[in-house]
């Protein structure tokens, strides 16, 4: 126990000295650079404010990104060129085919469910009393990590042999309804969808809260005017409310696509990628850190990046539009 106390003290000392060191360096830089005046003052300030970010982005994202692209054309140890071998492997390997199908399923099903359910609840929340209670309960899973959520759902999906008492909620419900429970994590293709439920369970609250805020921000006079003109119910929603929150809805959808593409924790915790549930991000990790094949791992990372580029292009276009309007 005393050893635990002493290592804990060491750990916290390192945290606070790291943070203190960081602020002292910044303070000294600010003080020194602040003394510069005249023509040099502006460029010096610019460098001190901007350089840390640029250096970190260069060293942490840009150069590694380029090296990953290069690695994807190299052998497992990244010391010899192999051309497109790592990419043709993807086309030939039947496992990769399953992975691609699963990944595409994830990016189609998960964002639509997350956003649609979030929108539905956001609309309904707007119409009830005491909305803050259900709202915070629905948002709560968002604070749980994917690993934690997976553990919670391992319990829901737990299966016992027929005849024993089912301690998993899903099995118990199926039994109650007169069906026969089965080992859910082994039954494909259902297992992939059961994993998706975990993702939707944690992330739906995010979409709901953002869409709810967007709905509340629709100007009251516009709604009032259209109500006077006879727009009610579904028509009011379709012609007035939805167009006004469309931008937010697309942001929620896009966030869902990005998240679903990168999903790794859930698959890893629930099935380890076995039983035909594997996805791109998990396979990338396995190739690099289990098979020690940096070439194939990098190629998978590049595919992951390419799948995200449409969203990147869309984001940049809408940011441009936004900026040109203001």
């Amino acid at each position: 126990m005393s050893e635990f106390v002493s290592t804990t003290i060491t750990k916290f000392t390192s945290v606070f000295s790291a943070i203190a060191f960081f602020f002292i360096v910044l303070g000294i830089l600010f003080a020194l650079a602040g003394r510069a005046n005249g023509k040099k003052a502006r460029p010096i300030a610019l460098v001190i404010f901007l350089a840390p970010s640029l250096v970190l982005l260069l060293a942490g994202l840009i150069i590694p990104g380029i090296r990953t692209i290069l690695f994807s054309f190299m052998n497992p140890d990244s010391n010899d060129w192999v051309g497109f071998d790592n990419y043709t492997w993807m086309l030939e390997d039947p496992n990769v085919k399953t992975i691609m199908v699963n990944t595409i399923l994830w990016i189609l099903v998960v964002p639509i469910f997350t956003a649609a359910l979030g929108l539905l609840l956001a609309i309904m929340l707007d119409r009830i009393k005491h909305e803050s209670i259900p709202k915070s309960l629905l948002f709560m899973p968002m604070a749980i990590s994917f690993v934690g959520a997976s553990i919670i759902f391992k319990f829901v999906y737990e299966f016992r042999d027929p005849g024993e008492v089912q301690i998993g909620l899903l099995s118990a419900i199926v039994e109650f309804l007169g069906g026969t429970p089965k080992d859910w994590m082994l039954s494909k293709p259902l297992n992939t969808f059961l994993l998706m439920i975990i993702y939707v369970w944690t992330q739906m609250g995010f979409g709901m809260v953002i869409l709810s805020a967007a709905i509340k921000a629709v100007p009251a006079d516009i709604v009032e005017a259209s109500a006077l003109d006879g727009a009610h119910g579904w028509r009011l929603f379709r012609n007035i409310t939805f167009p006004m929150i469309k931008g937010t809805f697309i942001v929620v959808l896009a966030t869902g696509v990005v998240g679903a593409l990168k999903v790794f924790d859930i698959v890893r915790t629930m099935t380890g990628g076995n039983f035909s549930t594997n996805v791109l991000a998990n396979e990338m990790y396995s190739q690099v850190f289990v098979q020690f094949d940096q070439g194939k791992g990098s190629a998978l990372a590049v595919i992951l990046f390419l799948l995200l580029t449409p969203i990147l292009i869309y984001n940049i276009r809408s940011l441009r539009m936004e900026r040109s309007h203001s």
């Binding site: 640029l54 590694p64 929340l125 707007d126 709604v223 409310t241 990005v258 580029t309």
Partner: protein, 286 residues
């Protein structure tokens, strides 16, 4: 008329009647909460009962104990938990605090420069950083790990020595800081750019330089934005698994609680022993 007035406050009104909305929302809320409730109830059950009795039965047949919590905090007989999870819990705090402070401060500085020290190319840099948001972590993982363990070389010339921080706390703070920057800069830029121009100009007229303006005006006024982003960054780092698995070894010295949780699941597989330790872990974790 009164009906119309309510409608003006509730654009979604009339789409569903209020009663249906209430029922649907509350039913969904209950369904959404049940899995967590199951975990919560299970965490107070004795080991044997966890495996033999569904938690919803235990609810009506209460026989609760704190033994799981004791095992988790102070260790139990099983090998993987001989010292409990407290060291991992502390690692999580040790990782998360600097990994939140560093990127937020650095991003605030960059956001200020891009918003208020305009220069040729500042728009381009802003768009570029915005675009970097979409680059998946996976793209940077392998080269970054190589950089930490082996340094950077061109041919046989070492242009950067091995940092030697792989498996160290600094080796986890740094990637988290790097990966957090694009989003943090973008969001903080939006916030800082909307501060009133008059205020900045008045300060400059009074002789304040950029550093003074940043400290005395920008920082205090950006606190709401900074706080919101810091909370998200905190949650992100706390719940992260990929960076932790890659840059921290799984040991008691540096591994955060989330990767310990994941490895416990791995060790027990879907075996029955899983439930002995998982439940209470999750409750404190959250």
């Amino acid at each position: 008329m009164s009906n119309l007035k309510i409608a003006s406050h509730n654009p979604g009104r009339k789409l569903f009647s209020s009663k249906i909305a209430t029922v649907v929302v509350w039913v969904t809320t209950v369904i959404w909460t049940i899995p967590t409730l199951g975990l919560f109830v299970t965490s107070f059950k004795a080991d044997k009962e966890i495996l033999n009795e569904p938690w919803w039965v235990s609810l009506f047949n209460p026989n609760f104990t704190l033994s799981s919590y004791k095992g988790v905090f102070f260790g139990d007989s099983s090998e993987s938990l001989s010292n409990g999870v407290l060291p991992y819990f502390i690692n999580s705090i040790v990782i998360t605090l600097p990994a939140t402070v560093f990127p937020i401060v650095i991003a605030t500085m960059a956001a200020y420069a891009l918003a208020w020290i305009r220069f040729r190319g500042s728009d381009f840099i802003f768009f570029f950083i915005f675009a970097l948001q979409i680059v998946p972590l996976q793209m940077a993982l392998i080269p970054l790990l190589l950089l930490f363990t082996g340094g950077a070389h061109i041919g046989s010339v070492t242009i950067f020595p091995a940092l030697g921080i792989a498996g160290d706390f600094a080796g986890i703070w740094l990637p988290h800081t790097m990966f957090a920057l694009p989003l943090a800069i973008y969001l903080l830029h939006n916030f800082i750019a909307s501060l009133p121009r008059d205020l900045m100009e008045a300060a400059h007229v009074d002789g304040a330089n950029h550093f003074k303006v940043f400290r005395m005006i920008v920082l205090p006024l950006s606190i709401p934005g900074i706080a919101a982003i810091a909370i998200f960054q905190f949650m992100w780092v706390w719940n992260d698994l990929l960076v932790a698995l890659t840059f921290a070894s799984g040991t008691e010295e540096v591994a955060p609680i989330n990767s310990k949780l994941a490895s416990l699941v791995g060790q027990y597989g879907s075996g029955k022993a899983l439930f002995i330790t998982q439940r209470p872990l999750k409750v404190i974790h959250q």
